[in-house]
Symmetry: C2
């Protein structure tokens, strides 16, 4: 059953029916953008085979989302369909490809938000849930809460009948080697741990996946799913499960999913701030994205990127790293995929 806040009913009654903001003048076009993480992604770092593998998987994710939207499905279902393709692939730091924590486990985070009533769901630190983004939807729709964490979130997941598995499902050799290298760098550093962190290759921090979409009814939705930061400790929670930091959707402005150095994205509430500028200053999604990613975030030393979409299907994908796995389509248009900075 959908979460039916009394207030939503009252609001809906006041406006006559439950319709998205701007739905009246929505042209019926649907569109979607996705990302698979930002970081030091250069041609030198990827073989031709690796590059093709990423492009193929990003295309598959987009087409999974397009299938939903084309058939009249809602943007939330489309966002989840696209993210689940990436969660199931070892290429990305989410689901199957999740990085290792300091203790050699995997702790996954995800969040989801709808632009109509700003309903949202998020989970942090789950270890046995195959698709964290699916659990985020269950939290949004089947619980009275917005954010669940740890064992409690897993208990809720079992009650909802979602697929559970052993934490070892997320083991991959590639990520294990990354953990060893990260621990070595941190342990041998003569400077404070935080200094070591600053100089760690960005690949150890990034790789989150996300999707944003507008459906035929003009409803915006955004979702983000991640394995967090390699070698993370102390139950660290990054920006991905934080509504406003890693994910945001508001039909009066835009929908955003972020990837990057999460601590900065929390401190500057990146996703929500982009939409605030669209809403309160009348900026386009492109202008607002540039101001926050190349302005605010860059001045603070934060690195990463976002995908942004508005109810008219305008899309922006700004980032300030060397690359961001990304792609989009509008309606039945070609799925456009890009990886490097110069691909802009």
């Amino acid at each position: 059953m959908k979460k039916l806040y009394l207030s939503v009913l009252l609001t809906a009654a006041a406006f006559g029916s439950i319709t998205p903001a701007h739905a009246d003048d929505h042209n019926g076009d649907y569109a979607m953008a996705i990302h698979g993480g930002a970081g030091t992604i250069t041609r030198a770092n990827l073989t031709a085979e690796q590059e093709q593998a990423y492009k193929d998987k990003l295309t598959e994710a987009l087409e999974a989302g397009r299938k939903v939207l084309k058939e009249g499905g809602d943007s939330t279902t489309a966002v989840i369909a696209a993210i689940q393709v990436m969660e199931a692939s070892p290429l990305f730091n989410s689901g199957k490809g999740a990085v290792y924590t300091w203790n050699g486990e995997h702790e996954l985070d995800a969040s989801l938000m709808e632009g109509l009533n700003q309903n949202a769901g998020a989970v942090a630190g789950v270890k046995t849930v195959k698709s964290p983004i699916e659990l985020a939807r269950k939290v949004m729709e089947e619980s009275v809460h917005v954010m669940l964490s740890g064992e409690g979130a897993e208990q809720f997941s079992r009650q909802q009948g979602l697929e559970q598995l052993d934490n070892s499902y997320f083991n991959t050799e590639h990520r294990y080697q990354q953990l060893q290298k990260a621990k070595e760098t941190i342990n041998k550093s003569e400077q404070a741990e935080q200094q070591a962190w600053e100089y760690l290759d960005l690949d150890y921090k990034y790789g989150t996946v996300g999707a944003v979409a507008v459906d035929k009814n003009g409803l915006l939705s955004a979702g983000t799913s991640t394995g967090g930061m390699t070698a993370k400790r102390y139950g660290r929670i990054g920006d991905s499960p934080i509504i406003g930091a890693g994910t945001w959707a508001d039909n009066e402005s835009c929908a955003v999913s972020a990837t990057g150095h999460g601590e900065y994205f929390i401190r500057f509430h990146v996703a929500a701030d982009i939409c605030s500028r669209v809403k309160h200053q009348g900026l386009s999604v492109s202008e607002a994205g540039d101001e926050v990613i190349h302005g605010v975030l860059e001045q603070a030393g934060g690195t990463g990127g976002v995908i942004i979409i508005d109810a008219d299907g305008n899309i922006a994908m700004p980032f300030n790293t060397e690359g961001m796995y990304r792609g989009y389509f509008k309606g039945q248009g070609k799925a456009e995929i890009a990886i490097y900075n110069e691909d802009e």
Copy 2:
């Protein structure tokens, strides 16, 4: 050691020195506002003795903050001093007076943010930390992360040498009775659990404490500490530890601490949105607070309140419940305390 992001150093170098925004024209006045929770707080619900006890404790908290500010201490230290008075009191749903979870334990959350560089620290779901707001400061200053959770956060707390104690320290008869009543209401409800939650007395949801301050140097700071929601399950995380939802500070706009039905405060990123309106629309803290609390939040059916302060010491304390324990002072002015709606 203070967290020294390379970026902060670069930014500081670019501007000549590390000074708060607006510091040049700051008049040297200091000010502070605090809250001890919002909800169905009416004259009929409080005895004269209870009312006096709250007033005395709020005054004590304000004076603890004033002592720091008067002697030239920073606003973060003042915010923590005020919050720790309330954390140590059984009157409020934070620290000693924390409510019970569904399982009969106590899980505490807190967050802290500084307006200069938007540094922030937060902890969620800690069970053995005497002062969660103190731990939030350690996360901000001594870790590379912004948000830590659960056992990992407690491990970090032990490493930092903070006072730990058994979870039973937080046991109080008053809160235990509240848990029994809440579970009874939820269990006997013939409607869905979420419906029961909607009709539960607001007192089971609220009671968070918080403080905002500006110091002699014009630095803004905000902090929030809570025991969460009575009978909460599944590792629920509310708005209090979410930077942007329950706590926000930005010297270019304002500092905010929130209390209320946390799920709504997350979905509408209440604390950050108030400051966004000050920053991007040029509203006063009073106008921005009213728009969000009496406009956005109320239309969505969300209840609660916030305390807001800007670098000039302007203070607003809007709420849409029957009462909010609150108080403020400016410089050496009288500590003003209020509880009910009509006390405005």
